[in-house]
Symmetry: C2
Subunit: 325 residues, 2 copies
């Protein structure tokens, strides 16, 4: 499989670093909006200006879109699904139906396969929510994130006047987790499920009390949560907070029986040293699926719900039944 | 969907108790090898002698086979896959390829859909092993079972002279779990991963020391494990050990990066009050998939690897993308 990526940020670099874990894949091109000669890569992939992408149509089996969900993917995925089989990690949950419809029109019209919203949430977490709901129709779902860095919340802090840099950790609250694992199914407020911990580097002479107040009262981002703020030096930030760990878990707590007398808990749990590395590995597995569906002429836009698991792995069906079933 | 079951043991009763959780399903028939008039059911399903099953061919969308893997299913599934869409929970891992081939021939020859080895292991655990391997090609797999009742091990104890009844709990060992969750990937012996705890009721005057010795040295079943034996009264067994809880978890510990510098842990964890109830719910979801694949004329034998997740749930694709992705 000949792969290419569009976008060379954390996610694109994750693809580059992990494509070799899959011996049926090769990363041939890195498309970028920047000047290709400014880009220093870590592989033999050719760096090409994204304006030339269409000329590579016949030399790429799947294009993995590594841009952001806010402005890149809503425009890129429908556009490139007309030229390539594509996979993206579109993660604005509320806008997924609209994105799906646009991408589906493009892919169908040009006999291509597109898989959207691939990663771990949306993605693997969605898959587990859905399968658990299918098996335990009566029950409650809980999704916890963290402990991990939230890029969006870190960015929100960075926009405050006087702040030079920041990292925000989302941390699930043990009391809530233990309550659920005991088989109880309460409705939690946001504050009861997660807390937020911020490490902030400020300008010399900045008003720390004011910045802390501004963070803690920020609507949607921090106000609904218990938030702690630590002011640290730039050095300390680099030394202790330069990794991008994340994770989280999805729990379905369900009941069975004529009188709902039996409780069952299904938990799917991820602990990730590097969020972009793991996400890139999920994208690679679904890129394989996109290529196989294309070979079967099963065109159009798909999500994780539509794809038989066997398409994700580089093993034949006999081997899978013999070794993994 | 009009369902029927063949076999009315723990699993069959689980189906009967939980079919109503799915509002697109109805249990119409219970087929049994016993005298139907001897069977007391808890529902309105009609009890019919299994010898008459063929006459109900056109009145059943999916037949769920609730027999055992040792002698029932190897004969029943290939036989009934010629008359019905079927789902079974065949769990003799080593014989799955052979079972698959036989069932596939039957189903293909008569335009039926069969889904085999459905449950949680094989089944949901297999699905997670496979998907985790696809995403993290470099890594190690670990499967733990318990704490829960092993029917096979309980039966093995019951066959010892002087034993009236017994329950055997399989218990995963915390040290092993914690080592893996720390990101280490050792190779464990059987003894390092699980221990076995037995509650045994014996005849008056039985030689307890001899029975304990016989249990602990039983090859394959107990000899490779640290086993503890408790002699209790029949009353105590009924009071404290009459439920059939189970569970367990599958962990993939994988590495990513040019130098495998990032560790990632994927864990799938089940805690089940009732093993047969939960297994029956998995069978019901896959019965729905069998019926849908049949409507799409996608005949033949399938496993959990072959089935797109959306086929498992009673919701349309738009709703799934909007609410669960």
């Amino acid at each position: 499989m000949r792969l290419a990526i569009l976008g060379y940020g954390n996610l694109g670099r994750g693809i580059e670093a992990n494509v070799a874990l899959n011996d049926d894949m090769e990363l041939k091109y890195i498309f970028t909006r920047r000047n290709p000669s400014d880009i220093k890569t870590s592989s033999n992939a050719k760096v090409v200006c994204s304006s030339e992408i269409e000329t590579y149509k016949d030399d790429i089996d799947v294009l993995i879109l590594c841009g952001g969900s806010a402005t890149d993917l809503p425009e890129q995925t429908p556009k490139y699904a007309k030229m390539f089989n594509v996979v993206d990690s579109f993660d604005t949950h509320a806008k997924i139906p609209e994105h799906f419809d646009k991408v589906n029109s493009s892919a169908i019209s040009c006999d291509k396969v597109a898989i959207i919203s691939v990663g771990w949430d949306p993605g693997l977490f969605s898959l587990n929510r859905m399968i658990s709901n299918a098996i335990l129709p009566k029950g409650c779902d809980y999704t916890f994130w963290g402990k991990g860095i939230s890029q969006g919340h870190s960015d929100a802090i960075r926009r405050i006047e006087g702040v030079l840099d920041a990292r925000q950790y989302t941390i699930p609250i043990d009391d809530a987790i233990n309550t659920i694992k005991d088989g109880k199914t309460p409705e939690f407020t946001a504050r009861q499920m997660h807390r937020r911990e911020c490490f902030v580097v400020v300008e010399d002479g900045a008003d720390k009390a004011k910045i802390e107040q501004e963070i803690k009262t920020m609507p949607n981002y921090f106000e609904p949560y218990d938030t702690s703020v630590h002011f640290i030096s730039e050095e300390e930030l680099k030394q202790n907070h330069s990794k991008i760990p994340h994770g989280g878990f999805v729990i379905r707590s369900g009941q069975t029986g004529f009188n709902f007398e039996n409780k069952h808990i299904i938990e799917y749990n991820l602990k990730l040293d590097s969020n972009p590395h793991f996400t890139s590995c999920v994208l690679l597995a679904y890129a394989r699926a996109a290529y196989r569906l294309y070979q079967e002429k099963d065109y159009g836009c798909k999500t994780v719900f539509d794809i038989a698991p066997k398409y994700l792995i580089n093993k034949n069906d006999d081997f899978l039944r013999k070794t993994m079933l």
